[in-house]
Amino acid sequence: RKRQLLTEIVLRNRLTALVVDADTTCRVLEQLLLRSYGVQTQGVDNGRDAVTLIASGVKFNLIIIDMILPILNGLEATRQIRDMGVHCKMLGVTACSGESERQAFLAAGVDVFIEKPLDPEHLVPILRELDG
């Protein structure tokens, strides 16, 4: 099958992304969507592992993080990642849809709040921006 509906872009640089989502279906889908654009991805299923990975020095161009996560929730994980001085693009991708949740996630440090599902319409402009 040809990809007729996915916006086709060609990235000039190799981008990397971390996907933080407790739900396997969502995490696998988001990683595959990123990979279809040539982004190298890693996935973790809780906030603590995300913070630990970043604290170990691994760098990403993009972090996609859910709000409700086990062990350490997405809001707190985002705050801790930003407190480490990490300035990469962070997308809060969550099934939460309320304005208060949106404000809380933005206040915690995500750059963009996206209600699930993550789709090319939101992702492609961000990848283009990261690709310079």
Binding site: L5, A22, T25, V28, L29, I68
Partner: protein, 154 residues
């Protein structure tokens, strides 16, 4: 049944799933991610969704069966199911979760029990429909045919 007939049957069946609201455009997105390097992608993701969902529905049943229901826990499970169902395009499951969450907020035990039944019903319906659709696809491939693309503009 010859391949052309099977293909037409698949197209009609798949279109009916969209018309009846079982699936939304997100499912088409999923199909677009399937290619030569990921030939079984849709089957694999749908299977993951089935496994995750059945675990979540069991967790929800147990959580609502407690003498003192922890509505935060219930809400967290429903939230997760809302996320995964929306990610694969299972629209009616997603919508049932939205209603469910509002009753969790109210901590309304009777309403949340009714919502659980509704979510289960929608889940088993879409599971059945998707299994039928994937079986039709397998039959076409086994007969040497290719899976027809579904146009968005129907």
């Amino acid at each position: 049944m010859e391949v052309g007939q099977m293909q037409r049957r698949l197209v009609d069946y798949t279109k009916s799933l969209f018309m009846e609201g079982f699936l939304d455009a997100q499912f088409l997105q999923l199909q677009q991610l399937q290619d030569e390097s990921n030939p079984d992608f849709v089957v694999e993701v749908v299977s993951l969704f089935f496994d995750d969902s059945e675990k979540l529905l069991n967790d929800l049943t147990m959580a609502l069966d407690q003498p003192n229901v922890d509505f935060k826990k219930v809400d967290a499970h429903v939230h997760q199911l809302k996320g995964s169902s929306s990610s694969i395009g299972a629209q009616r499951v997603k919508n049932a979760c939205i209603a469910f969450r509002s009753f969790c907020e109210e901590q309304n035990i009777d309403a949340t029990l009714r919502c659980l039944q509704q979510v289960k019903q929608e889940y088993y319906l879409v599971k059945n429909k998707l299994e039928t659709m994937l079986r039709l696809e397998q039959q076409i491939v086994a007969a040497g045919g290719s899976i027809p693309m579904i146009e968005l503009g129907f």
